[in-house]
């Protein structure tokens, strides 16, 4: 099962490190990622394999959300199917 993690907010030091640390902690493997700065806004999207995640999905999402809050960033984790179904025919 794969999930899409999106991180948006004001650019700061250590965003990637903190997000990947949370993933590593619960055994989530990052498959792909991209990052851009649009004007001042930091935007990062990651595709992660969560099939071996050690915690339930909702808990993992909460952890990341909390991690985001600490950096004043917004982090969303959503199953990749929602994007596939909305944007692919």
């Amino acid at each position: 099962m794969r999930a899409v993690i999106t991180v948006t907010g004001k650019d700061t030091v250590g965003i990637l490190a903190k997000v990947t640390a949370v993933c590593a902690e619960v055994n989530v493997n990052i498959l792909d990622m991209s990052q851009t700065i649009m004007q001042d806004l930091f935007v990062m999207t990651m595709l992660a394999d969560i099939s071996n995640c050690r915690t339930p999905f909702a808990e993992f999402a909460d952890k990341l959300k909390k991690c985001g809050k600490e950096m004043a960033m917004e982090i969303h984790v959503m199953h990749e199917d929602i994007f596939n179904s909305m944007h692919r025919i």
Partner: protein, 463 residues
């Protein structure tokens, strides 16, 4: 890898533009619960609903977390209760239909859904055993329960309009409003009078589980007026012609519907029941921006209700269907744009500013689903006038082969005073607040007293 812009677009739709799954409704057939002993029937009803819907809310919440998409309501629709009441009355027993409403309420409380629909009767060609008894019990049933919703089908394109039922429903709506006057006349907000009612509608208050449906089925209602409005308000759409507007609405409706399809199939799989339909309706909420009226205004109307509103709404309704039909394996329910006045910030403003009248709303119902919805009228409105409104709506539905509905609320304040045009009746929550609208009080009494049935219309020579 998915396209970044697509990902961000989805997140923005959910975060900023109020995109959500409005309702996941579990339809449950209660035909096997019929019993000549009403108490036995009620206990069978309770048992069946709590057994089949035990995990309904839990599964909904799990899907919400998995996809990060809010599912606002988890609901249940059941077989029209009049059919169960028929078994009771035909065996010589009578009275106590309200017991079914209490059984439904208890079951809804146990499984944790917020509404349960199906305190209903289908009387478009006439009353059968149980129908009249159920209808007469509606005011009491809705006053004594909080989650039970009622709907009555009084007409259809194939049967015509049952004018006896129309006359009766005017009285029932008045009475429901009076018995719940201390609760914002909420009883009347839980009754819908239909023409051409659909069997798989997931939206309240008009949801019931039709007799052609399987034993248990999942139907999903999506929403997203905010998303559509935002799509057509983008700077690049400023000079777009009306055909381009229709294209953008289609594309947006496609995306919204795909999400509904995904959630519906997932919920059906988790519950082990068949997936029914996605209802494509654009359902507004009082939240800022989540308004159908604002979409119409974004298209270029100074205010919703101006001349041109019916045309803009016709385009919107049709484009939503065209986009949605391709996105789902099975589209059904009411599918269109809802125009409930009290639930739509733009409609409320339009009424307050004098732009939107009841007459214009009536014209709008001819081109969209569903009808005069959540319209608050003065408390002094007579039952006959309410019946007249129902008859007109039913006629629009019957002739145009579409569903129409009436949900009007005669406004009475907590002290029992009839509210007048211009005042505001507050419902709170998703039901919003309704400005009392001006009404034409000339009487249709004699027409109603004639009784009988308006014959079914001709299906050719369409002009």
């Amino acid at each position: 890898m998915l396209n970044n812009n697509d990902i961000l677009e989805t997140i923005q739709m959910i975060r900023e533009e109020n995109l959500d799954i409005r309702t996941v409704t579990l339809g449950i057939s209660l035909l096997d619960c019929a019993d000549s002993d009403i108490d036995k029937a009620c206990s069978k009803v309770y048992d069946k609903i709590t057994r089949l819907a035990e995990n309904h809310v839990l599964i909904g919440e799990k899907i919400e977390a998995k996809y990060g998409i809010p599912i606002i309501n988890k609901r249940i629709s059941v077989t029209p209760i009049s059919m169960l009441m028929a078994a009771v009355t035909s065996s010589g027993n009578s009275g106590g239909c309200v017991k079914f409403a209490h059984a439904l309420q208890k079951a809804a409380d146990t499984v944790g859904v917020n509404y349960i629909g199906g305190y209903s009767a289908l009387v478009h060609k006439g009353f059968s055993a149980g129908d009249r008894e159920l209808i007469l019990s509606i005011p009491q049933a809705l006053a004594e329960t909080s989650k039970v919703c009622s709907s009555i089908n009084v007409g259809s394109t194939r049967a015509g309009i049952n004018m006896d039922a129309v006359a009766l429903m005017g009285k029932i709506i008045k009475e429901s409003s009076e018995t719940t006057a201390n609760n914002s006349c909420f009883g009347a907000a839980k009754i819908v009078v239909f023409c051409n009612a659909v069997e798989d509608n997931p939206f309240m208050a008009g949801a019931f589980h039709g007799i052609g449906e399987p034993d248990c089925v999942i139907n999903v209602g999506v929403s997203g007026p905010g998303v559509v409005r935002s799509a057509i308000s983008k700077p690049e759409m400023a000079g777009a012609d009306i055909g381009q507007i229709a294209e953008v609405i289609k594309r947006t409706a496609f995306k919204i519907t795909r999400m509904g399809q995904l959630v519906g199939t997932e919920a059906a799989r988790a519950l082990g029941v068949p997936f029914g339909i996605v209802d494509l309706s654009l359902a507004p909420t009082p939240a800022i921006g989540d308004s159908v009226a604002y979409i119409l205004e974004e298209m270029g109307l100074e205010k919703c209700g101006a001349y041109g509103t019916t045309a803009a709404l016709a385009l919107l309704n049709d484009a939503v269907k065209k986009g949605g039909v391709m996105a789902s394996s099975s589209v059904g329910g009411l599918s269109g744009a809802f125009i409930p006045v009290s639930e739509d910030a733009g409609m409320i403003e339009a009424v307050k500013s004098g732009s939107l009248s009841l007459a214009k709303l009536e014209a709008m119902t001819a081109v969209c689903s569903v009808g005069l919805d959540m319209v608050v009228v003065p408390g002094s409105t007579s039952a006959d006038v309410v019946s007249g409104i129902i008859a007109d709506q039913a006629a629009i539905g019957m002739i145009n082969s579409k569903t129409t509905a009436v949900r009007v609320i005669p406004a009475i304040d907590k002290d029992g005073r009839n509210m007048e045009a211009g005042e505001i009746l507050e419902f709170g929550g998703l039901f919003g607040s309704g400005p009392v609208m001006e009404i034409n009080n000339f009487s249709p009494a004699k027409l109603l007293q004639r009784g009988g049935r308006i014959p079914a219309p001709l299906q050719s020579l369409k002009n």
